[in-house]
Symmetry: C2
Subunit: 251 residues, 2 copies
């Protein structure tokens, strides 16, 4: 179970996001999404029941703790770029090949299999899904539902959100599909190397802050983007005006 080991690595402080949080002076919270209880095979049935999806969303809502200035969201999930691709196709149309990419490095026959699985899931659920949240329940995963929940809670709390890469943006795109204004408080941290991300960003009209070919997930891009936000804020609050500096007009 590589997923549980990777969660343990976050807790032990050995992951990329731990180093980034230290470098940028951000606090890390790790939410473990019932790794011992996998979601259902979405080629056969909905990944989650309505209750399970709602529970995951509510769990994500708790991430917006009182006093938070800004929240950088991300995820770690084995195989969840497939769920993200299915979610994007379910929300915005297209077939699997439009949205599926190599993820952590899938290629050749394994990539063809990934595409076939996503197309199978789309055939099963696309016409049955009643709204974007039902698409999420059928094609998503608990971590994606939790991210959607956190984005909603942040909006209600007037906390700006920084979204990480493909899977994280796909989760927020569920809300966009329901109401485009629902993610106006979200900044996309970076353009992931996963090719579906650029397509998704175009669809939701978001320009990422960074474009560094990152593809790690685990909120690494979102955390790095916090450094840009902190710097912008430092300029906004600390700079002298022309009058204060005694500068006599632009040249």
């Amino acid at each position: 179970m590589a997923g549980a080991q990777m969660v343990q690595n976050f807790i032990a402080g050995g992951a990329a996001v731990n180093q980034l949080c230290k470098a940028i002076d951000a606090d890390l919270r790790v939410y473990e999404m019932a790794l011992d209880r996998p979601t259902a095979d979405f080629t056969a049935e909905p990944a989650m029941s309505e209750a399970d999806c709602a529970l995951a969303m509510a769990y994500g809502m708790m991430a917006v703790e009182p006093g938070v200035d800004v929240i950088a969201l991300g995820e770690m999930g084995i195989g969840n770029t497939a769920a993200a691709a299915a979610l994007c196709a379910g929300l915005f149309g297209g077939v699997a090949v439009d949205w599926v990419g190599p993820g952590t490095g899938v290629a050749g026959a394994a990539l063809a299999r990934k595409i076939a699985v996503v197309d199978e899931a789309l055939r099963r659920h696309r016409h049955a899904a009643s709204d974007p949240f039902d698409v999420l329940r059928r094609l998503g995963g608990r971590e994606l539902a939790a991210i959607a929940g956190a984005v909603i809670a942040a909006r209600r709390a007037r906390v700006p959100v920084v979204l990480d890469g493909y899977a994280c943006t796909a989760a927020a795109a569920v809300l966009f599909a329901a109401d485009p204004r629902a993610i106006d408080h979200c900044i996309v941290a970076h353009r992931s190397a996963e090719p579906g991300h650029a397509r998704l960003l175009a669809r939701i009209g978001k320009t990422p802050l960074l474009d560094l070919g990152m593809r790690l997930g685990e909120a690494s891009g979102a955390t790095l983007a916090l450094a840009i936000l902190k710097s912008a804020l430092a300029c906004h609050t600390g700079m002298a005006t022309f009058a204060e500096a005694g500068v006599s007009g632009k040249s």
Copy 2:
């Protein structure tokens, strides 16, 4: 004299770069390049004598102090995007309109005048210039010569360099024109909103780290890019290996 006032603002801590240095924990050094003794009118004669240009380069070399980990270079100069444009055209060909942009916001008749002045300087010096350093002396300014000197000194000291926007990259491009390997130790921080910068980056084969529409100069982009470098270094030095983390192979 807006230039002297702006230097005073750097020293007083009211400029953007001061806030960025604080946010990123970088040290700022301000080198004042004989503001009371302007370079000559480059439409009439070389901007600098050989001795003056060499002195400015030597002054810039001193910026690479012992023990420096990395150096982010930038400049503040009134009207120096015109010098940068002339320098680029002198080094790489083309006419003024290929390299001149709005700078701090020049438009309309003033922009046409800026283009005409640069073309006039190019007519006077282009065929007389004997090598890239002679182009620098004729069309550049002291701050651009100082930056070229700092890039050379950093290379000799094995210190990586982060270059700021258009004027700073144009200064480093003098060395590229002399020998393309001379700026292999330089990273370009960001793509400036000044349109000549993208053309220059293509010419010297550098991909910027950031593309945020910045155009302030004063090493603001280079300082911001230090945050990315520090984060990358934190990941490189602090992350656990798969073996240390007990992760059983990629999925």
